[in-house]
């Protein structure tokens, strides 16, 4: 407390930012908060790092101790996991489904976002309906979708799952794309319009190039949604022909309940690609997440 009270003159002219310029004017409050933040950062990273350290532990050590650091480092879990589970097949399926569904969502999403953003097409109804589908928990439509896909022969098919993931991502895609298109000045459209371009021409030649960063963000976000999706994939796939990574791994967990080293190695196989994607496109990802919601 004495530390804080000697600091009083400095506090008067402090800017509204409560805690800026950390380290210049240290007080008890700031120290406590700094410790809190470091604790939260550890809390954030610990589970992911624990997955890495567990995958490097000797299986016998995992059965004995839950310590964070391995006593000895080994690659045996990685060797076994990738011998026992066809991780590459699941990852291949996941990649195809994610790419296909993102392509589908963006291809359908761009034109509808354009007519909604520019012409208020369908009044508020169409937009609200599209966004409203996002509220619906996937379980709500999964029974009729299952029956429908069975009739259409789309059960256990990568194509079927890609379409469904694309449809599921559509509200997110429209939400983002519509906000990006609305930020494009209307004058540009009108210039193209006077030059004789129709709506399709304006959209493809003018709008799409301008919103390209947002489009990339949307595509990546749709891919991540598909990559991580669990319930639809669980209901609609049951062989290696179409099972995605989450389903493959969850079956494996069911069969090898206590092989935490192998499971960690296998799980990291699905984690690393998505982290690489996020690393390369982080700027787009963060922009995409923030726009349309709070900006």
């Amino acid at each position: 407390m004495t530390l804080a009270s000697t600091d009083t003159p400095a506090q008067v002219d402090r800017k509204p930012s409560l805690l800026s310029r950390l380290g210049l004017r240290v007080n008890v409050f700031q120290i406590v908060l700094t410790i809190l933040v470091i604790a939260l950062l550890l809390f954030t990273l610990l589970p992911i790092l624990y997955m890495v350290t567990t995958s490097l532990k000797e299986p016998i050590e995992i059965r004995r101790s839950g310590a964070f650091f391995p006593e000895t480092v080994t690659d045996i879990n990685w060797v076994r996991a990738y011998r026992n589970v066809p991780v590459h097949i699941y990852l291949g399926n996941s990649t195809l489904v994610a790419l296909g569904s993102a392509l589908f969502a963006v291809a359908v999403g761009i034109p509808i976002s354009y007519v909604i953003a520019r012409f208020h097409f369908g009044g508020g109804l169409l937009k609200n309906w599209i966004l409203g589908t996002y509220i619906t928990p996937p379980i709500v439509i999964s029974i009729p979708i299952f029956l429908m896909f069975r009739t259409a022969g789309l059960i256990d098919s990568k194509l079927g799952l890609a379409i469904l993931h694309g449809v599921a991502a559509l509200p997110v895609a429209v939400w983002l794309l519509e906000s990006f298109i609305r930020k494009v000045p209307r004058d540009i459209d009108e210039a193209a319009w006077i030059d004789g371009a129709g709506h399709f021409g304006t959209l493809v030649r003018i709008i799409v190039p301008v919103i390209l960063p947002g489009l990339i963000a949307t595509f990546i976000i749709c891919m991540v949604l598909s990559w991580n999706e669990f319930l639809f994939a669980l209901v609609l796939t049951y062989t290696r022909n179409a099972q995605t990574f989450p389903i493959g791994i969850s079956n494996y967990i069911g069969e090898h309940g206590q092989q935490f080293g192998e499971m960690s190695a296998a799980a990291l196989g699905g984690l690393v690609p998505i982290y690489l994607l996020a690393f390369f496109f982080q700027r787009y990802l963060v922009q995409g997440l923030s726009s349309g919601t709070v900006k």
């Binding site: 997955m51 359908v108 619906t136 379980i139 991580n228 791994i249 969850s250 799980a267 998505i274 996020a278």
Partner: protein
């Protein structure tokens, strides 16, 4: 005139794929569920007989269902409120230091873009009573002698799954709250500095009121997501022990795809959907009210 006509047609063409998808993947499944909810149906043989309101009557006195709805609400509101408070506090802490904010934003992507199946796997090990991380250090640091079966006892099973959600999605709230804080106008802060407002007054009378609409949007997004909770329950507890961590989506899934009782599952689905829509609509109206009030 002719050009106008062809332009109208191209607007419809741009909207058509989405409208078709909405009919096929939103309207049809909902009507189909509604229809099935009044029938005795199985997955193999949809529609066996009309039963009127019987499925609904059964659902309302089904203790597993009412508990799972209660758990869904506890889970949804619990994690959303926790994530909003922690995420917003962290954003407040960092939003003036651009450099730190940028690094943390990247770091914050890691938990929520991770596949839920990988997340479930590692948290299962973290919570494990004998060889898990938490119990290992609780014993090593002599905090408890006895292992705590976090997922295996009714008192903590739901809470433990909530902690995983909070771990995974607080960073998402942080990213959005940071973006919202950084896009607030500067003028009110300058005026407050002239008036000699204390940091607390600045927060209470400037930052917080201006942030409320954004926080509500973020909260609504999280609540929608949290009501969909399925993956972690499916992989970690199966709703148990007993029905202590049973949530609506998972119980419906079990009823439809393990017991094949799609008629009964449909009635529960409709009830769940009505609850979700009522809650989200109420919050959306509240958001519209705050926008009017603070703008």
């Amino acid at each position: 005139m002719l050009r106008k006509l062809s332009q109208d047609r191209s607007k419809w063409l741009m909207a058509l794929p989405t409208i078709a998808l909405l009919l096929l993947f939103s309207l049809y499944p909902l009507l189909s569920m509604l229809h099935m909810s009044f029938t005795r149906s199985t997955l193999g043989q949809p529609f066996r007989a009309w039963v009127g309101l019987q499925n609904y009557k059964d659902a309302l006195v089904d203790r597993i269902f009412t508990t799972s709805i209660g758990n869904t609400l506890i889970f949804g509101f619990g994690v959303t409120i926790a994530e909003l408070i922690i995420g917003f506090l962290l954003a407040l802490f960092f939003y003036r230091s651009v450099q730190a904010g940028r690094y943390l934003r990247t770091l914050a992507l890691l938990p929520f873009i991770a596949p839920p199946v990988a997340v479930a796997m590692i948290w299962r090990l973290i919570y494990e009573p004998n060889v898990g991380l938490i119990n290992h250090y609780l014993r090593q640091w002599n905090i408890t002698q006895q292992s705590i079966p976090f997922l295996g006892q009714p008192e903590t099973s739901l809470l433990s799954i909530m902690v995983i959600d909070i771990w995974q999605w607080t960073p998402f709230v942080f990213i959005l709250a940071l973006a919202a804080l950084q896009s607030l106008p500067e003028e009110p802060y300058e005026a407050a500095a002239v008036d000699g407002a204390t940091p607390f007054e600045v927060f209470r009378f400037i930052t917080l009121p201006m942030m409320i609409p954004s926080l509500l949007v973020i909260g609504i997004i999280r609540l929608i997501g949290a009501f969909k909770v399925f993956d972690q329950v499916y992989m970690l507890t199966g709703g148990g022990p007993g029905i202590s961590s049973q949530v609506a989506t998972h119980y419906i899934y079990r009823t439809a795809f393990n017991s094949f009782n799609t008629g009964y599952a449909s009635s529960m689905t409709i009830i769940l959907l009505v609850i979700v829509i009522v809650v989200i609509t109420a919050l959306t109206l509240l958001h519209a009210y705050t926008v009017r009030r603070y703008d």
